[in-house]
Amino acid sequence: MAESYAVEHEASHPGLQHHFANMEQQREAGTLGMWVFLVTEIMFFGGMFLAYTLYRSKYPEAFAVASNHLDIKLGAVNTAVLILSSLTMAMAVFSTQIGRLRAQVVYLALTIVLGLVFLGIKAVEYHEKYVDHLIPGTLIPGNPFNPHLELPTGVSMRHVEMFYWIYFAMTGMHAVHMVIGIGIMSVLLYFAAKGRFSPEYHSPVEVSGLYWHFVDIVWIFLFPLLYLLGRHLGGHAG
C-alpha cells in the first residue's frame, strides 16, 4: 500500500517496475487497472444490450421467430465449454498462487484449447447462417439476407433481419474479445512455460483471468437473450 512508507526501491524481484515502491503496490495497481478496464467493457456491451432490449420489446414476434432459428444445442454446448474454460482459468490462477507451475501451464493450455473450441463451434453456427442466407444486409457481398423462413402474418422480414444484425453484432463483438483473450493466454502460456510466474509474482495471470471471466459473463447473458427467449412460443418457428 502507498501508506507503507517504503521509500527505497526494492530491488528484490525482477518483475518489479521502476516506478513502483514494491510488489504489493504493483499488484494492486494491476488488479485495479483491469477492473476499471472491465467497467469500460461493461458500458461497451451495454449499448448493444440496450438496443437489443428496445427492439425486442418493439418486435417480440419477429425476434421470437428469428431466435428460434438459432441452434440451441450448439449454443448450450458453447455455454458449457466457456464455463469449463472459466474453471480451468481459475485453476491456472490457483496453481500459480500455490506454486504448482506444471499444473499452471497445463491449465493455461486447456483454457486456450477450450477457447478455440468455442470459436470453432461459433464458426460452424455462422456458417449455417451463411448457408441459410441469414446474414443481414450486404455484410457478405453477393449473399444478401434472403432466408426461406415461414413468417407469421404481419411479421416483417426486416425485423427478423434486425434480430440477426443484433445477433451478429453481439456475438461478433464477443468473439473478438475471445480472440483477444486467447492471444493474451498464449502470451501467458509462453512466459509460464519459461517459469516467469511464481506465488510472489502471479499478478499477470490473475489480471488476465479477470478478463477471461468477464468474457464468460457476457456469454452467460447472450445465451438466454439470443437463443432462449421466445422458445416457448415455438409454434411460430420456421
Binding site: K58, Y59, E61, A62, P152, T153, G154, V155, S156, R158, H159
Partner: protein, 337 residues
Amino acid sequence: MQTSWVPFVPPSASTLSGKVDALYFYLSGVTIFFTLLISGVLIFFVIKYRRRTPYEIPRPIAGSHKLETLWSVIPFIIAMSMFAWGAQLFFENSRPPKNAVEIYVVGKQWMWKIQHSTGQREINELHVPMGRKIKLIMTTEDVIHDFFIPAFRIKTDVIPGRYTTQWFEATKPGRYYLFCAEYCGMNHSGMIGSVVVMDPTEFDSWLGGNASQQSPAVAGQQLFETLGCISCHGAKGEGGRGPALAGVFDRQVFLSNGQNIKADEAYIRESIVNPQAKLVSGFGPIMPTFQGQVSEEQLMQILAFIKSLQIQTPGAATSGAPPATASPATRPESGGR
C-alpha cells in the same frame, strides 16, 4: 418580414410567444444579476486584497457550512422556479387542443410539403388563419428535419417513420419565417419558407380559391379500397375480420396483451406499418405489414380518412357507450382498466 419593437427579440405572433418571452426575460434577469454580482465581488476583492508585499501569507480561512448551505439552497430554489415555469409552459403547449384545425406537413430534402384538410397544397409556405388553433401533423420522407417558426416560439423535429405534432394559435397577421432547424444535408440553409397569417375571412376565401383539389380524406378512402383494407375493416370502417375503425380515433383501445392505449396518430400509423406490435384484443395476427409499401403522404391520407370516419358516426363521442358498429375492442376512455 415582420420585426418586433423590442430590440433583440423576434416578432411575437402567437398565443405562446408572449409567455415564452416572459420566461426568457426572467431567465435573462437572473443571469444578468448573478453575472454582475459575481463580477462585482470579484473585481472588488481583486482590488481590495491585491498583493502588497512579495511573501505575505494571509490567514487561512477553512470555509463555512452556513455559507455553503446558503449558496446551494438559494440557487436550487431559483433553479426550481425556472424548471417549474418552463415545464408547465411546455406541458401546456405539448398537448394539442381537440378542436384544432389539422394541417399535414411532410419534410423532404430540402422543402416543406404542406397539405390542408381541404386538399389545398403548398410548398415552403404555410397560410394560416389568425385566432384559430392549428395543429400540425408532421413527418418526413428522408432525414430528420425540424419545423421552426421563431415568431410563434415553436419548434419540433420531424422524424422519419413516425409522427410528431405541434400546435399554435397565431395572433397577428403578417409574414414570418419558417426555418428547418435540424441539420439535414447540403441545402439545409435553403430549407426556409414563410408562414402567412391571414384574417380568418381572407383565409377562408384563399382556401376556397383552389377547392378543386382532392381532400386527404377522400384520397385516403380511395387508398383504403385499392390497398384492400376494406376486405377486413369494411368499406366504412365498420369492421369484420379486422377491428372496426369508425370512431376509433382518439379513443381507448383494449389490446390483446391486456393493456389500454389511446388510438392517436402514432398508434394508427404503427398499426399500418407494424400491425403485430399492439394487437386489438379479440383479433388474430392476420394483417400484413405495409411498411415500405405506402408513402408518407399516402399514410397521412389514410389517417385522414380513418379520422373522418369518426365524424360519420354521430353520437359515438357523446353517448359514452360504444357505437353499435364498433367492435367490443373499442371502449370509452372511462372504461379502461
